[in-house]
């Protein structure tokens, strides 16, 4: 397809026609049309914008890619009354979707999100957990773009956790060796006293570029925990935000990235303390081999009404080779004086020489020592999730990747 015909896919007319053809309800056809209008109006982000400072997106305009849909597989037991399945089905059957979909991540805030809102397809998923319902085990949503070649995918996930509900959702993203562009959107509504755990498990192929947004809105006493394991892909930029609106709500963001070759990871987090006595915890870690790169830009905002807020933000980067590079940019915006704690820590450097010597003195060679050290360094992100299979598997994957990484 030529550039012109590709771009035509994103026009309002084309988007509306495709939506009608899909059988979307009228309100959704209109939402997608709105998104197409936003897409037409929005420029691509540039590095002059602070969240985009470390990542050049020239040549990655969605308009240059035909829209495709990743296939989705869902594993895990869904209790009666809950809904885990196609977002298109959910839009027709589950009443809350109309009110919530696109209300947290709006199409007007970014060209990538506009493209997503206009074009998400069979890779849209809805998780609705009714009042008081707790999922027995994790639900794993595998977003598989391995059939996609040189096209864009727009996975979308809406999680609505009603009052006192509880769920753990693992989102695993995979693709093949061909170039893929992904722009994902995950909206999470954590109702009063609900507990939502979301684990992003990036297993993209080596030529995939991914831009994913996660935004959670937390009601009173709710708890929203996000974990992210970034190992695959050529460029992975994740923006994870927790809007701590309800009094006593708690968010945690724990991310790890293991880079090699020319992989580029970019994490942006926002912990927005809006309600009183809210708590946030952020720990973003990377271990970088080859000429890989990691950037972190995180904002802890403590609003006027967020009295008694407790916030802790840490970014640690281990450079495993001389060519690797990490940038760390943690920011505090504090508007009230009455807070419990607001800490931030950032570190970039090589592995602790004493720890390395200690392990070498036990017979481990440099690579073997780094394999153990990095597995240990990463454990904190999954340790909290209570998913031992994923924790064990992670350590195996870290060891395998470091077995061939350029140190």
């Amino acid at each position: 397809m030529t550039q012109a015909t590709l771009a035509e896919q994103y026009t309002e007319a084309a988007v509306s026609a495709a939506s009608v053809h899909r059988g979307d309800p009228d309100w959704l056809v209109e939402r997608r049309a709105e998104a197409a209008r936003a897409f037409a109006a929005l420029p691509m982000p540039t590095q002059a914008l602070r969240p985009w400072r470390y990542t050049d997106v020239a040549g990655l305009d969605p308009a240059g890619f035909a829209a495709a849909a990743a296939s989705v597989r869902i594993d895990g037991a869904v209790p009666a009354g809950a809904f885990v399945g196609s977002l298109a089905d959910g839009a027709a059957k589950v009443p809350v979707v109309r009110e919530r979909l696109g209300s947290l991540l709006t199409a007007t805030e970014s060209r990538f999100l506009a493209a997503n809102a206009a074009k998400w397809g069979a890779d849209g998923v809805l998780v609705h957990i009714p009042r008081g319902v707790a999922f027995a085990g994790p639900i794993t949503i595998t977003v598989d773009a391995s059939a996609v070649v040189n096209e864009a995918v727009y996975p979308r996930l809406l999680i609505v956790a009603e009052e006192r509900s509880e769920a753990t959702i693992v989102v695993r993203t995979t693709s093949g060796d061909a170039p893929v562009m992904a722009a994902g959107a995950i909206e999470v509504f954590a109702g009063q006293a609900s507990q939502v755990r979301l684990l992003l498990d990036d297993r993209w192929g080596a030529q995939t570029r991914d831009f994913t947004w996660v935004r959670g809105r937390l009601e009173r006493d709710s708890n929203f925990q996000v974990g992210s394991i970034a190992m695959g892909g050529l460029l992975v930029k994740q923006t994870v935000e927790a809007l701590l609106e309800g009094e006593g709500s708690t968010s945690g963001i724990r991310a790890v990235a293991l880079g090699d070759a020319n992989q580029h990871f970019d994490f942006v987090t926002l912990q927005d303390h809006i309600g009183p006595r809210t708590t946030s915890f952020v720990e973003v870690k990377s271990a970088l081999a080859g000429a890989s790169r990691q950037a972190y830009y995180g904002i802890t905002r403590i609003g006027l009404d967020a009295v008694g807020a407790d916030a802790d933000q840490t970014n640690r980067n281990l450079l495993l080779s001389n060519e690797a590079k990490a940038d760390s940019d943690p920011v505090l915006e504090i508007l009230t004086a009455n807070i419990a704690r607001c800490g931030h820590h950032a570190a970039v450097g090589p592995v602790d020489a004493e720890a390395l010597f200690y392990m070498q003195s036990r017979g481990l060679d440099m690579r073997g020592a780094l394999q153990l050290l990095v597995s240990g360094f990463f454990y904190s992100v999954v340790g909290e999730f209570g998913l031992p299979e994923i924790a064990d598997e992670l350590s195996g994957r870290v060891q395998a990747k470091l077995a061939t990484a350029t140190l």
Partner: protein, 263 residues
Amino acid sequence: MTGSPILEVRGLKVSVAAQPETHIVRGVDLQVNAGEVHALMGPNGSGKSTLASTIAGSPAYKVDEGTILYKGEDITKWRPDERARAGMFLSFQYPTPIPGVTMVNLLRSALQARRGAEVPAREFIAEMRSTLAQLKMDESFARRYVNDGFSGGEKKRAEILQMGMLKPDLAILDETDSGLDVDALRTVAEGVNELKRPDMGILIITHYERILDYIKPDFVHVLVSGRIVRSGDFELAKQIERTGYDPILQELGITRTEEAVAP
């Protein structure tokens, strides 16, 4: 009882790698043969740990002169992991905490490295259990992060646990006795004694005679300002316990202040 040489240190001079003008070990000769236990004593800051770390291959130190032979082979330029796999073991005076890495993971990797082969899980677990039991250590210990939040005594036991698993041919125990209560000291010393083999050499760095009551030294050396100034038998350790280092220093015509600034 003397066997073949395990460790031969010849004319060794060592400085701090990051500050080459800081000379710490200033001409040491030491030979440990199979079946022998040597004790190395000396005032704080005399260079005992530096000598031990250098023998183990620490990159923090630079060998300016001299050689280190292990089982007759010049290992002065070997990497620390090569020395360890060949059967050298250093019990650290200050074991390094490694958050996130469990004892069990370290032990497993270390044992595989030492044997140069996969160690079947069952065999590994059985061996770890019996070594833990021998050192009167709880099994939950193995699931903790290496030296992370360990008490002083726990750290020293953890070192000997590793020694017990790795079965070295040369063990250098740097103040393994410090931080241990009397019962723990006996347990650890008995553990070391059980690991002692006729084809093995042991170098014990200590400030106190007590550990030597359990692990009887064949030779005792005194290191002052980076040089071995006196060697003797167990009697020398007992004498130091009674009188301290001052008589030796006086005899050598060094006062403590001089010692601190001597080039």
